[in-house]
């Protein structure tokens, strides 16, 4: 008995609901009809794709950065100031080791291959070692270069290596990089590095070395080296690099080592040290 009443009840409820819904549908229809006939429905003529565009416009005006970000597919993050940053750094600069133009986001893996653990880099360095050994044997004046020289080899070859270097803080050599990163001594690296400008903070003319501290790398370090050579009338200018993790002007170079300071050591001998330090 009660079950029947339940069934009837449900049926009646369904009918009541349909009745309510129909009256609401008629409301919507009559309103829309009136708007269309009287001509004040602005969305009537500009539908479909334009509606999407207008909706997007409205959202940008309101300033809903979350909606905009998700619409873009999250390729650009939006910060609180409304600026968009691409999530992958796409600025391109030249590697100071091999001279190739590298995208900033790919710089760290490139460095690994270029001067680090890669097989090719090791072959390259061993080749350079033999070449430079021959050249050193032949003549002492060595042209300027910018780049990487292994630290562990130089002590054997250059008897006039100054003992001051440890105090200079150049001995913080990362493991595994010292033997492998050995670059051509004589080659002048014309690679350009973006970033800030070089600042010549101190040039001390000692008998055997001049030193330039360069902050943030330099577009013209080779030019500076050339200039220095002229100024100091020293035949060789050698630049060593120490990579640190932060670039002073706040630009990010993509994961891993970013930015660098350089120490220019002028000397008659091929002397240098490269460190990759965190």
């Amino acid at each position: 008995m009660a079950h029947d009443r339940m069934k009837v009840s449900s049926q009646q409820a369904g009918l009541v609901f349909a009745d309510l819904l129909d009256s609401l549908i008629v409301d919507v229809a009559s309103e829309s009809h009136r708007a269309a006939r009287l001509g004040f429905d602005h969305k009537l003529n500009v539908e479909e794709e334009e509606e999407m565009r207008l909706a997007h416009q409205a959202r940008t005006i309101v300033g809903d950065s979350g909606a905009i970000g998700s619409e873009n597919g999250n390729k650009h993050t939006i910060d609180v100031f409304g600026q968009t940053h691409p999530t992958i750094a796409n600025e391109t600069f030249d590697c100071m080791n091999c001279g190739r133009p590298i995208v900033a986001g790919r710089f760290a893996p490139h460095l690994e291959k270029c001067m680090g653990k890669g097989r090719k880099a090791r072959l390259k360095s061993s080749r350079n070692v033999t070449a430079s050994q021959q050249r050193r044997a032949r003549s002492s004046p060595i042209s300027s270069y910018g780049g990487v020289v292994s630290a562990s080899r130089t002590p054997n070859r250059t008897p006039t290596r100054t003992p001051e270097e440890p105090q200079r803080g150049l001995t913080d050599i990362a493991e595994g990089t010292s033997e492998e990163s050995h670059e051509d001594d004589e080659k002048v690296h014309r690679s350009r590095v973006p970033g800030g400008h070089s600042q010549v903070s101190a040039i001390t003319k000692t008998a055997k070395r001049a030193e330039i501290h360069m902050r943030n790398g330099s577009k013209q370090f080779s030019d500076d080296a050339a200039r220095l050579t002229e100024l100091a009338s020293i035949p060789t200018v050698i630049i060593t690099w120490r990579i640190h993790t932060l670039c002073n002007d706040g630009r990010h170079f993509g994961g891993g080592a970013v930015g660098f300071t350089g120490t220019v050591i002028k000397s008659k001998f091929a002397l240098g040290r490269f460190t990759i330090g965190g």
């Binding site: 819904l21 009256s23 609401l24 269309a36």
Partner: protein, 134 residues
């Protein structure tokens, strides 16, 4: 059956011409007066009773408002309006009628109601029916 003596000669009726006798004579054959709808239906159906009760108690109005609010919240109304607009554009703005629109969008509107909204309303209606029709 009403028989009318048509006056062929003139367009005026007997009554108008002043021939009252003729008019009254004609009225004898008129059909009997209807009984005043006594035999229309046995009783108001259950459906009607429920409807009357809903309206009288004001519950129908409340339910309608609740349903309207829920449907606006979930975007049903905007979507249905978009349907109206697209139908109007197809048929031509100046020639569209309300009936056409209603006939076109009613099945769509019925289908577009979210299940949660429908369940909520049905529950409330059933509760009312249970409490009232005992």
């Amino acid at each position: 059956m009403l028989s009318v003596r048509s006056s062929n000669s003139s367009s005026k009726s007997d009554y108008e011409r002043g021939d009252f006798t003729a008019a009254m004579r004609a009225s004898i054959n008129r059909p009997p007066t209807p009984d005043g709808d006594e035999d229309k239906g046995a009783e108001p159906t259950l459906q009607e009773i429920i409807n009357i009760k809903l309206i009288e108690s004001g519950e129908k109005e409340r339910l309608k408002e609740l349903l309207r609010e829920r449907l606006i919240e979930c975007g049903w109304r905007d979507e249905l309006k978009a349907q109206c607009r697209s139908f109007t554009r197809k048929k031509g703005r100046s020639k569209i009628t309300v009936d056409e629109i209603i006939r076109n969008i009613t099945p769509k509107g019925r289908a577009m109601v979210p299940d949660t909204v429908k369940a909520e309303l049905l529950q409330r209606i059933r509760a009312f029916l249970m409490s009232d029709n005992l």
